[in-house]
Subunit: 262 residues, 2 copies
């Protein structure tokens, strides 16, 4: 699996839980993060490089754990490559469509994801009558990366961002950025119990398991401890600390990769 | 002048005030913002492209209104080109060195600027005895871009970031990111009147005027209204709104430029 940076680790965490025997290679394109403001051509190029790198590590399936790369390059990646490749948007959109009762769904994400309308398009495919209230929340990512997810700053920010969505009566809310599951408690306190939070990371992990089963690829009942390898294109100072916050476990082995060579 | 994005507009604002007769071409490399996480080679390439573009517009002097590009490419740009090119770091560092009485200076900026140690190096050249307390404040940029500079969120964030610097006894504080002058009031309330805020944008504008005078280039006492042209490599949705917040005046003419062609 790969992400433009660290956010995809929330998806990795869910995959580790649901398919605990699988070996996983994680690539974070930390030298070129964020993908959000880049052109479709650039994002496709970066995505194909990441996929080529992962294939060189002999993976059997790939998860694009990045909303921007999913929105801009998943379709093209599936046309180009033979192995199963899934993104983070479809599973989240599907769950939201089946979760809402009043057919008013909220979507929050980065500027790039919200502008791409990727969740809106996927949800409309399932039920065009669902009304979508979407909102970009650019402060959430740096708040998570500072480790401030459970502070008063996070609460006030969430209140300010989510007020409008609450006023418009949403009954389910898609956490449309891989960083946001770390804000689940704070967001949950603001929106209350009546609003169901949809975590695409969790839904994507379920989809992956299903696809591995369908293709007779699932590694199950194996006594061996699974191997987790981490690669990044650039090691920011705080990488290990933030990564451990995301994964809630220690990471000892982070390697550098020259991604331009792929 | 150019910047990786919008932040340089705070520098433009100061230049407009101090040299009100000059025509100015502003280029914001909004398609490739932020420069912070990129390699020195990439930042040099982008900087030279921006300079070539500005030269094609017949400018007589260039201000690199971006801390990252100044730190990584100013020296090389001055070696390569003949016209005067100045950055935003030297003037701010010099002012800080002459402002401090107790020789304890605070520097705040983006992760990239703080990691580059560019202000520290410049200040040490003037007075190696000055003790520097630096701190990256990654939430400040998105707070400014949301238009939240004077909210409780900004105050709480500033308090959290600046506490440590206050505890260590700084008596002057360099606003080492072009976005930060918009947080001046909030930051000023937190640090109090005893801490002098150094705004590199203002100091750079003074330097520019001096250089234009020294080279007999200053356009003065001209009755004609000066012409301001704005170019960006990509127009983000909120560009005009944010730009007007930065400049405190209306912007009507924003053109797109294919910067890769330079």
């Amino acid at each position: 699996m790969f992400d433009s940076g660290l956010g995809g680790l929330t998806v990795l965490r869910e995959i580790m839980k649901i398919t605990p025997s699988e070996n996983i290679v994680y690539f974070g394109d930390t030298a070129r993060v964020p993908y959000g403001p880049r052109s479709k051509e650039t994002i496709m190029k970066y995505t194909f490089q990441a996929i080529d790198f992962l294939i060189s590590k002999n993976v059997k399936a790939i998860v694009i754990a990045c909303n921007t790369a999913t929105a801009r390059a998943l379709k093209e990646a599936n046309e180009k490559y033979d192995l199963p490749i899934i993104g983070v948007i479809e599973a989240g959109a599907r769950t939201a469509a089946y979760t809402t009762n009043n057919k008013i769904v909220g979507i929050i994400g980065t500027d790039g994801t919200i502008r791409s309308k990727a969740y809106n398009i996927e949800i409309a495919k399932i039920d065009p009558d669902i009304k979508i209230i979407d909102k970009a929340c650019p402060l959430f990512v740096p708040i998570v990366e500072e480790g401030w997810a459970n502070t008063d700053i996070a609460s006030l920010t969430a209140k300010r961002y989510l007020e409008e969505l609450m006023d418009k009566g949403i009954d389910s809310l898609v956490l449309g950025c891989t960083h946001y599951p770390l804000l689940k408690r704070t967001i949950g306190e603001i929106v209350g119990e009546k609003v169901k939070l949809v975590n695409p990371a969790k839904e994507t992990a379920k989809d992956l398991k299903q696809i591995l089963e369908d293709n007779n690829m699932l590694r199950d009942d194996v006594e061996e401890v699974p191997k987790y390898e981490y690669y990044v294109s650039d090691i920011p100072e705080k990488f290990a600390a933030i990564a451990e916050e995301f994964l809630k476990k220690e990471i000892d082995d982070i390697k550098n990769v020259e991604i331009q060579q792929y």
